[in-house]
């Protein structure tokens, strides 16, 4: 099955073709890239391929502006991570970065032009309280939640409520695992810690294989796909580059995912990066990753994800996209929680929202 093309995809895969596009098409690419949070990533591709210099100034300035924001985020991140590293070191913990923060600490292809919204880190569960109070002492404040949300987080989530550095305006998510304990797979987080890599003194990221598996897990448990295409592009970049960095990358990737009970999201990642971005994945790896259950589900999953992995632009939305996004939203909830927990939670949240709404309505009167 082939997905219909969209201009942003063509520009990402073949940046050299952008300068030959019409002015109207170039504006459409920029608009789709901005919507998908991929403008700076595309800009980095254009810069590396030399195509940026061939674009008219009217378009080039938008790419340059996006790159400036990316460079600023990189500077800020290094500064913030230094404070986080020091806080964790004060209680003898290591800084292990996840996702965007990890990418930006590397010179990996996935880091080029990657925009971030917050910093994600992981510490062993038994040290989560030490980590949180150390971070509080270094100026990272815990969010004030009402008692229901607070106890929900503490009991059922894989992260603490977000920490905020009010002086810097940065948000920090403190995880002890990469999925909530209520989700189907029970991931042994120690396995992740056992294979972390030091990217600079006292700063660690997951191993290359685990980075891919985590990125896939995050994306394919997600309920909202505003960043879906961006996250799939991350996976494409990783799957393209990592085999060059480590000749044994493909060997054992699927086995590692099985060990973590995360073979299902890896299987999705291998399929949709190939369908959308033509990512080269060895046939034996696809074969190994795709079990009979995955094959049965494939037509339905294709219907849903091919719609989710497109810019949310009226010009390139496929028919029934709304239905697919709703279905994925519901799917994400039952992936995260069994029904006996999910239903009371949703009822409670709906009730709290109703109360909030009527409270604001009263205030407005």
């Amino acid at each position: 099955m082939n997905t219909p093309d969209f201009l942003l995809r063509d520009a990402l895969l073949r940046p050299g073709a952008l300068p030959r596009m019409s002015a109207a098409d170039i504006s459409m690419v920029i608009s789709q890239a901005r919507t998908s949070r991929l403008l700076a990533s595309l800009a980095a591709r254009l810069e590396a391929s030399g195509a940026l210099a061939l674009l008219p100034e009217s378009a080039r300035r938008h790419f340059r502006s996006a790159l400036l924001v990316h460079h600023k985020q990189r500077r800020d991140l290094l500064h913030d991570c230094e404070s986080i590293r020091a806080a964790l070191a004060s209680v003898d913990l290591r800084l292990v970065l996840l996702k965007g923060g990890a990418y930006l600490h590397t010179n990996l292809a996935v880091s080029q032009g990657r925009l971030i919204t917050d910093i994600d880190i992981i510490v062993p569960r038994e040290h989560i309280e030490d980590a949180e109070s150390a971070l509080n002492a270094y100026g990272w404040e815990s969010s004030q939640l009402d008692s229901y949300n607070e106890s929900y987080y503490r009991r059922w989530s894989h992260e603490t409520p977000a920490l905020v550095n009010p002086r810097r305006g940065t948000t920090l998510d403190l995880h002890h695992n990469i999925l909530p304990p209520t989700a189907g797979p029970t991931i042994d987080a120690d396995l992740l810690f056992d294979s972390v890599k030091e990217v600079k003194p006292a700063t660690f990221t997951l191993s290359l294989q685990d980075m891919v598996i985590h990125s896939a897990t995050h994306l394919f448990h997600e309920g909202e796909f505003y960043h879906g295409l961006r996250d799939l592009w991350d996976l494409h970049q990783m799957l393209q580059e990592f085999p060059q960095l480590d000749a044994s990358f493909w060997d054992g990737l699927v086995a590692r995912a099985r060990q973590l009970e995360l073979d299902a999201p890896l299987c999705h990642a291998l399929r949709y990066t190939r369908l959308v971005f033509e990512t080269p994945v060895p046939a034996r790896v696809v074969e190994e990753a795709t079990g009979w259950a995955a094959r049965l589900r494939q037509p339905l999953m294709d219907f849903l994800f091919i719609r989710a992995f497109r810019p949310s632009h009226p010009g390139c939305r496929l028919p029934l996209t709304g239905l697919a996004l709703n279905a994925l939203y519901i799917r994400s909830h039952y992936l995260r929680m069994p029904l006996h927990l999910l239903l009371p939670h949703l009822v409670r949240k709906a009730w709290m929202r109703r109360k909030d709404d009527s409270a604001t309505a009263l205030e407005n009167k």
């Binding site: 109207a24 170039i26 608009s31 919507t35």
Partner: protein
């Protein structure tokens, strides 16, 4: 190239509701989409002398103010669109025009970094550009409007766009936003003023925009060199005065008023230092517009 005023109202309404109207505004092309009547009326009044971009132009900012769902129509709400997505909550349809103008500012505030951007009104007289930074409520827009009605050219009511390493100001001429008492003050200053739709009860009170491209060459796209930086402050209780401000203090204040000083990093620091070293800086405390306009005339000699 044709002007917006050459489009009959029916054609303007039709185009706004379908593919959008592409306007040349300073260095950018805005595509504006809307199915709200006040938007067409406001644009026809305030943007009459703006040039329509040729078909197939590169579009910098695709914006809109639309009522798209039945629920929005029933509740009298409309939404601002950027890249055909809605980044903000809906707003009452009576405030649509003000929100379109704010949204158009937001595009530049957030997405443009080829210039050092200051939150400032920019005016010019005799080829000399004057940057007037100010926090909201400082009276920069009111003074800017009064100058626009006194033969000055208005380069922007919101953004000073400075090419880093130079003192060149890029014009981004748009209507001037007036709030609350400023609306009456400007009507009293010049009864011939052309105002757009009034948006009441917004988070900034009542807002109306003024047609500001009254001077000849208002839409000239060439840069204008900055000569002065004036920090205006409206105050009813203090004596009116104009006085020199130290450059070091001006640097800090101008950096505070910048949208992207920190995004530009070291280049932002250098750009700001170059600017402040080249322009003289003043504080202007005023409550009488005629007095303030006369003082500004003195400054440019």
């Amino acid at each position: 190239m044709s002007l917006l005023r050459e489009l009959p109202m029916s054609a303007l309404t039709e185009r706004l509701a379908s593919g959008g109207v592409d306007l040349l505004i300073g260095p950018y092309v805005y595509r504006i989409r809307s199915n709200v009547a006040a938007i067409g009326q406001g644009l026809a009044r305030l943007y009459a002398d703006f040039t329509l971009a040729p078909n197939g132009s590169f579009v910098d900012f695709d914006v809109g103010l639309r009522q798209d769902t039945i629920a929005q129509k029933l509740r009298g709400q409309a939404q601002f669109l950027f890249d055909q997505q809605s980044p903000f909550d809906t707003v009452p349809v009576q405030q649509a025009y003000a929100f379109l103008e704010w949204g158009m500012n937001w595009c530049v505030s957030l997405h443009v970094n080829e210039y050092l951007k200051l939150h400032a009104a920019v005016v010019a007289r005799k080829g000399a550009g004057i940057i007037m930074p100010g926090i909201p409520g400082a009276g920069k827009s009111t003074l800017c409007a009064a100058l626009g009605l006194s033969g000055w050219r208005v380069l922007s009511d919101e953004h000073a766009l400075i090419t880093p390493g130079t003192i060149d100001l890029t014009p981004l001429s748009r209507p001037v936003s007036l709030k609350n008492e400023s609306i009456q003050a400007i009507q009293a200053f010049d009864s011939g003023v052309i105002l757009g739709p009034e948006s009441r009860n917004t988070h900034k009170g009542t807002v109306a925009h003024m047609k500001a491209d009254m001077a000849p060459h208002s839409h000239d796209i060439n840069t204008v060199p900055a000569a002065l930086m004036v920090f205006p402050r409206y105050s009813r209780d203090e004596p009116q005065e104009l006085y020199h401000r130290y450059r070091s203090a001006s640097f800090v204040l101008a950096a505070y008023h910048s949208f992207n000083y920190s995004v530009l990093g070291e280049d932002g620091f250098d750009a700001m230092q170059h600017l402040v070293s080249q322009v003289e800086c003043f504080d202007l405390v005023y409550h009488d517009l005629d007095w303030a306009v006369a003082k500004m005339e003195e400054l440019v000699g």
